[in-house]
Amino acid sequence: MALLVLLGVPLFAAAILALVGDRRFAPEVNIAGSAATFVAGLGLAWEVWAAGPILAAGRFFFVDAFNVYLAVLTAFVSMTTAIFSRRYMRRERKHGRVGSVGMRFYHAMFQMFIFAMLLCLLTNNVGILWIAMELATLSTVLLVSLYRTPTAIEAAWKYFILCGVGIAQALFGTVLLYFAAEKVLGEGGEALLWTNLYRVSGSLEPTVLSLAFVFLMVGYGTKVGLAPLHNWLPDAHSEGPTPISAVLSGLLLNIALYALVRCKVLVDGSTHTHHAGDIMMGFGILSVLVASFSLLRQKDIKRMFSYSSIEHMGIATFAFGLGGPIATFGGLLHMLVHSLAKSSIFFTVGHAAQMHRTQEMDRIKGLFKGNPLVGWGLMFGVMAIVGLPPFGIFTSEFLILTATIKDAPLWTPFLLLGLGVAFAALLRKVQPMVSGEIPSHQAPVTAAHLPVLLHMVLVLAIGFSMPDFLNAWLQATVELLQ
């Protein structure tokens, strides 16, 4: 029941918002839809918590501790983003950056995007997962080009083409996976169900599965934004409207990583080697290094934080590649706290950019004095994202680092180097923006307080003392992924 609501509400809301169009109350409908989705997500989590994994609709949907925690996270961040975008998009509309058609489109596609992501997470079918992932890309492509500036169109085109190519590789991987599974499970849709695949993973053909994993890695890795396939990500994040950057960074990357992790567990179960994990570790470290050094030379604020997303997805990918209970726990926690911190950073960045009417970091100054919430929100967000204690990201990065020192000591210096460079780069770039006097071109904004506060409190709470239920939940997920 909760499952039906969870998937039905965003789809229904998308249709309503497409009909309602650019009315005054459209943002409120958007918020109400996302809030209902979040409540349904909590309900579903409660069901899983109480009764264990659920198979629904003739084994079409499969919910366990792993995907339900991401589903709740997805629904939560979409809700806060909807709250943030009410004020933000209204201002954009007033300043004429978006028209009436654009607003209608924005709201409808926002809900469609949430639907696609939730379908990705909850479906039991690897083929449907692929279709939903493509749908998530397609529903955001035109949102990236919403402002219709040449650079926005360029970014969206790059996003469309690169992710199209990437996801085609993933489909080839899925075909190979089906090829191997069909021999054991017989033909038809049954052979593509995660639940069936996991059951027989030991008897799947290892050569075909390792070949399939290479394609899946390249395909879904493009969507995760792993170097060297990350080129679309900074462009799409910097040119699209800020709420979209927040959900792309905070949610879509997680969903792609989720697909990758499920595939990795399957492939490792079949080959009985650490081959898939090694590939993920390599991609992960490369992303951390490439992203952290790119951070140093950024001038555009949203572009800088999108590189930071690449870095953090690299860390999580590395952790899942490394495997083992501690690293996997760290990776899961990292996905959670990164989503919360990064989307909250994008909220404050959006306001800062609106205040100065530019995304150039040189022209953004005096945020502490101009708008304390935006200034301190950004400062705390950055302190969280670079992994300063007592924020939650410190906990997850510390866990991952400990596991690395123990299980794969040779990788430690590279990981440390990446973390260190990112730390220095982000703090150095942010400090001049928040401090100093208010420049003459700064205009006041009414900032959306609630989303930023909510996210920051959560990240802090997780860092200070991890709630028992979260701990138990992540432990249960770690069990699933072993």
């Binding site: 083929g127 279709i131 040449p150 169109i153 085109w157 080839f172 090829f179 075909v208």
Partner: protein
Amino acid sequence: MTTALAAQTNSFLAALVLLTGFGMLVQKRIYGLIHIFTWQGLFLSVNTAIVGYVANRHHLYISSVLTLALKVVLLPYILHVLIHRLRIRKEVETVVNIPMTMLIGIALVIFSYHLMAPVRELSTLITRSTLAVAMATVMIGLLMMITRRHAVSQIIGFLAMENGLFFAATSATYGMPLVVELGVALDILIAAFIFGIFFFQINTAFDSLNVEQMARLKEGD
């Protein structure tokens, strides 16, 4: 139709699909590209129907009709309308170094045969020899997207890649489950709608569909 004859027809059609792939690599006219793409779709559709008949998999008939409708009729029609509206009917694209592209294409075919060799050994289907061709078609579509600078050619490369994927599914496993095939077809339809909008946006913003002018987003140094 006997199995031997079917296997031969299948190989012949696979050769034609690969040939159209190479045809697209060298074709400079946008209009001609769409023609070759239509032929590739037709070969694929016929091939799927034959495989469906020989292997007695009736859901392949649906896939075959879907390919016919989507890739032979609808997509070429949409592309025709778009290039007519945008007045790029006569446009000839400068392709970077055709002989070199052809050589890379040939290398990709050899690479595909090498990569697919273990999979081929495991397969018992009559279509097993065409799996490498399907992968080569995917790779050639990818190569086309990289070497072309015109938005329409890039999209045709993308669609050719999609053709290769469909072909791979038919060769490896007699097609994916129907629900997946339908979903993929739906995604392609939405993608067609989106690139249609994009052609207009790019044309308005850059005054041409030449993607080469899109070079404003670069790393600051």
